[in-house]
Amino acid sequence: ETMLTVHYPMPGFFKDVMETISKKFMEENPDIRIAFANPSATYEEGIQTIMRQAGTTEMPDITFIGLNRLRMLDERDIPVDLGPFIEKDGNMAEQGFSENILKLAQVSGRQVGLAFATSNPIMYYNADLVRQAGGDPEKPPKTWDEVIALGGKIKALGNGNEGIDFRWQGDDWMFSALLFGAGGRMLNEDESKVTFNGPEGRKAIQVLDRMVKEGGLPVLTKQAGEQAFVAGKIGFAFQTTGALRNTIKNVGGKFDLRTAPIPLIDPVNGKLPTGGNAAVILTRDAEKQEAAWKFAKFAAGPYGASVVVPGTGYVPNNELAAKSPEYLANFYEENPLFRAGLEQMPRMIPWYAVPGTNGVKVTQSIVENLSRVVEQSATPEEALDDAAAEVESLLPRS
């Protein structure tokens, strides 16, 4: 019997999911036992825990790491390369792991994990407010201009209503959503120069600026924004599809909640960053690695997806799961709110992480400069240039 210690972040979110999956897994694989390590509250804390424990006896066998932090882990040579396992399996596509999906958890071509729960940014909106402001909830806005215009009208309703909540805090994910949506990139091909201050980046940050100026985007902390939205005080909220289940619960019957795809500055070439996490194998024990690989595939596989998606709002990271009626096809029929994320799946590309040791600092720097825009203490151009300069200096010197 092989014993696997599994570590995962955000238990408020994943505890039930993890327990359901592991129960089923153990039923199917009676020779493997799953035990859970103390979970971490956030992705960040999860990584710290792993880094501290790396090489110690406390290190779990398998963990789930935020997609944008895989690179950092890889540079410290902590994850096990999954390439050999994939090769040995040979038929990953048949199991629903398309090349596109595998790519989400690759760092410089190395397969460091298997995407487990993935998300993309979508638009949530309060149909009641949209209607009051003269919009048509059945035809949600398709462009940022429309969003901003409608947002402005909602704010004008008064009574403490705000137009837009855009989750710019915490990390660079939503900025990436604007940037990628405009067809931009963070760095150039060989990762030596910052490119997010190019024309696409300028458009992106101007959109943010206009949301503040015209669209009724208030300065809110992340939680405050969520709370205000579910309280029915905000017209549009842009954030991960992963928050969907909780949002539905929090809204209850207070208003008519709808979702729609997020507008793209470049509707043709625009892409979206992939959020979420990947299963990463840490154990150096060959036998355990086998078992861990099995578990990772199971969790990231169609069964896993069919548990994760309804329980959270994440999009299925397995093509079999989405299409097969055995798993999720019916679910999407019955739950139209979940469809926005699904529809955007083709646009998902990996969430970019800069090379070198300063990955986290880069994100922080971008967030800080965004906050200057939101607080209107700097013009969007200034903020963007400052961010670019700072990030440039944080890149590894080659």
Binding site: A54, L73, V219, T221, A228
Partner: protein
């Protein structure tokens, strides 16, 4: 410890006393070395290295970390933020605590109730209470601003705006530390001889304020010194609320020392650099305490 003791001949009573004293203090001294001094020393050493969590080795870099600190904008920001936070929380929580303690001391009814109520925040899990506060502070749907709105005042965006976030955090900090200080003041108040108040009255201290100036405040000197010390240490150590509520934001407006150290050490994983910060942090505390005692101790101890 044992070897020191063994060297001493049992000849004199004085030596025997010293030996027993050593024996009694030995466990404490040992643990003090193990769990406070040695780790602190390790931190000092790490401060001279480029150690990063996750990488195996490290090398000594001399004062490079300290040189970097001088030009680190974040660090300077967090220094000034911590100073502002401390400058708000320490005096306000002391004054409030003293006022509450005096009111409770004078009140005959429901003392136990009031003591418990004001102490409650000390006994509560700050991380959990922080989430309550962040709801109370919500700029639009939060009770505080809703309350203001009734009078037509638009309440500030407490934790969201860089202009007010430190005040928001300070309010939580004050709420949390008043109870602790109050208990110490209550103890100090009960120790004031009643006769001094009688003397003050006979001497013509007519008003409540006269008696306070003549007796209460000076007599609480030692207590106040202790409370101030503890308050400053605790304010400088503010961390949990920042971590749960603002993550140092917006735009570094709530970066405080311990959070910056945590961020460098555990998020950016630059342990060497974080250690250097820690050393500076400790140095600041030590200097502060030293100054405080030099300046105040003489004034406060009258015996």
């Amino acid at each position: 410890m044992a070897s020191i003791a063994a060297e001493m001949p049992i000849a004199s009573i004085g030596r025997r006393e010293a030996r027993i004293a050593w024996l009694l203090a030995a466990p404490a001294i040992t643990l003090l070395f193990l769990f406070i001094l040695l780790p602190t020393l390790a931190v000092v050493i790490l401060g001279f290295t480029d150690f990063e969590l996750g990488y195996g080795g490290f090398r000594f870099v001399g004062f490079e970390n300290y040189a970097e600190l001088i030009s680190d904008r974040t660090f300077r920001r967090s220094l000034s933020n911590t100073a502002i936070y401390t400058a708000i929380v320490t005096p306000v929580s002391i004054v409030l605590a003293l006022a509450i303690a005096m009111l409770i001391e004078a009140e005959t009814r429901a003392r136990a109730f009031f003591r418990t109520v004001y102490f409650l925040p000390v006994a509560s899990l700050l991380v959990a209470m922080a989430t309550v506060w962040q709801f109370l502070f919500h700029p639009t749907i939060g009770p505080i601003n809703t309350f203001f709105a009734q009078f037509g005042i638009t309440g500030p965006n407490w934790l969201g705006a860089s202009g007010t976030v430190l005040y928001g955090l300070s309010i939580i900090g004050i709420w949390q530390s008043v109870g602790f200080n109050m208990v110490l003041f209550l103890a100090g108040l009960t120790a004031i001889p009643r006769e001094l108040y009688a003397a003050a009255e006979v001497d013509g201290a007519r008003s409540w304020f006269d008696r306070f100036r003549l007796v209460t405040w000076p007599m609480l000197g030692p207590t106040t010194l202790f409370v101030t010390t503890i308050s400053i240490i605790n304010s400088v150590k503010v961390f949990e609320t920042v971590k749960t509520l603002t993550e140092g934001g917006p735009n570094k407006a709530s970066e405080v020392l311990l959070f910056t150290i945590y961020q460098e050490g555990f998020v950016y994983l630059r342990v060497g650099y974080a250690s250097a910060m820690t050393v500076v942090f400790l140095a600041i505390l030590v200097v502060l305490m030293f100054l405080q005692y030099r300046v105040l101790d003489r004034k406060v101890h009258y015996a």
